[in-house]
């Protein structure tokens, strides 16, 4: 199952991921997500600092049950962290570092990581999800919107990729 770089063959991974996703639908009636947890964590932190934030139009719907973190996706994303950590430890791949081309300046790489995260946050709110909760879950359950999102995302990615070539040394 491992290819020569020590990782699973992506086609095999995809089949296993598809089965996990199917189990998720069979058990919870929903697929796996990720961005929703970040949104809820932000809402909860902000609310703890300033309770008037409960009146915010977007945050209000999270606080219906009192705590924005009492949610399936939040628990599931905590699981992603545990599973990722467990797997990386067992493979000897936990190592502090920054993914970039070796000669690319660190401050630039971290700047783009931050700005990318900042932009992506809003993108996931507009699109009601990310690669997991929108693209993967929706396409596997035949949602037209998920294909719109996925094709727009990858299409844009291919078009602007040359601008960030140096970052990866590709």
């Amino acid at each position: 199952m491992n290819s020569k770089d020590g990782y699973w063959n992506p086609l095999v991974s995809g089949v296993i991921l598809g089965i996990v996703l199917f189990i998720s639908f069979m058990v919870a009636g929903q697929g796996m997500g990720a961005s929703g947890a970040f949104s809820r964590i932000t809402a909860q932190i902000t609310y703890l600092y300033d309770s008037s934030f409960a009146n915010n139009l977007y945050v209000a719907k999270y606080l219906g049950k009192g705590n924005a973190l009492a949610n399936w996706t939040v628990v599931e994303v905590f699981g992603i962290f545990l599973g990722g950590y467990l797997s990386a430890i067992l493979a000897g791949r936990v190592k502090q570092g920054i993914d970039k081309a070796y000669n690319y300046p660190t401050y630039k790489r971290l700047f783009f990581a931050f700005v990318g995260g900042f932009i992506m946050a809003g993108a996931t709110r507009l699109a009601r999800g990310c690669t997991s909760g929108q693209a993967l879950d929706g396409a596997a359950t035949f949602s037209v919107g998920s294909w719109i999102f996925m094709l727009a995302a990858f299409g844009t990615g291919f078009i602007i990729a040359p601008l960030f070539k140096k970052q990866w040394g590709i």
């Binding site: 991921l17 919870a28 599931e76 990318g116 995260g117 009601r128 879950d137 949602s143 844009t156």
Partner: protein, 198 residues
């Protein structure tokens, strides 16, 4: 009858426990595929390695096929499955911004969690950006909510669009789209490989 939670076979605490287990499995698969490093994610945009598209396409086709089998056999109530509702314009703009942000950062929210767990500082910084960006979105939501809710067509599936049912049109079109993507990516990669050799 499935889904267990929406048909009342398990309570919400049990559902959360299963959610934790499903998340762990998801994290393991992502890490084992190499998505704990943006060096395995970013190359997709340069057609250098196709890990991302191969994993996504084979996961979609596998899960879609299992859902259709389970629905056909009467185990799964497809109408009880949560499908994100479609908002055409925000999905288009969201997709464009998402793609740009993914190239820029090398991460998406799920893979960043695995990257963070593997010790990647850029993943941690990306996650901080995500949290700040969420706050910014909440703050401006009042003024953009009209756009964010535009182009609404509800739960809108392939069979709603072109007719037929999930056993025929939905699954067939999904397999077709998956195959199209796979062929497109392979063609682009071989063009790139040829250029590289010259």
């Amino acid at each position: 009858m499935y889904p267990l939670f929406t048909t009342g076979m398990i309570d919400s605490n049990q559902n959360l426990l299963y959610g934790l287990i499903i998340g762990i499995l998801f994290g393991v698969v992502l890490e084992r595929t190499g998505f704990g490093s943006s060096k395995h994610i970013a190359p997709i945009f340069y057609f250098k390695n196709l890990k991302v598209s191969q994993t996504i396409v084979s996961a979609i086709v596998t899960c879609a096929t299992l859902i259709v089998i389970a629905s056909y056999a009467g185990w799964l109530d497809y109408t009880q499955v949560f499908i994100p509702e479609t908002y055409i314009w925000p999905y288009l703009l969201g997709g464009v911004l998402f793609g740009g942000a993914m190239v820029m950062s090398g991460w998406c929210p799920g893979t960043a969690v695995v990257g963070f767990a593997s010790g990647k500082i850029d993943a941690a910084v990306f996650m901080l950006g995500l949290l700040c960006g969420m706050y910014f979105y909440f703050d401006i939501y009042d003024s953009i909510s009209d756009f964010a809710n535009s182009g609404y067509v509800g739960r809108f599936t392939i069979s709603d669009l072109i007719g037929g049912d999930i056993y025929t049109s939905s699954l067939l079109v999904t397999i077709f789209l998956g195959a199209f993507l796979a062929i497109f990516m392979n063609t682009m990669k071989s063009i790139r490989d040829k250029k590289e050799k010259q």
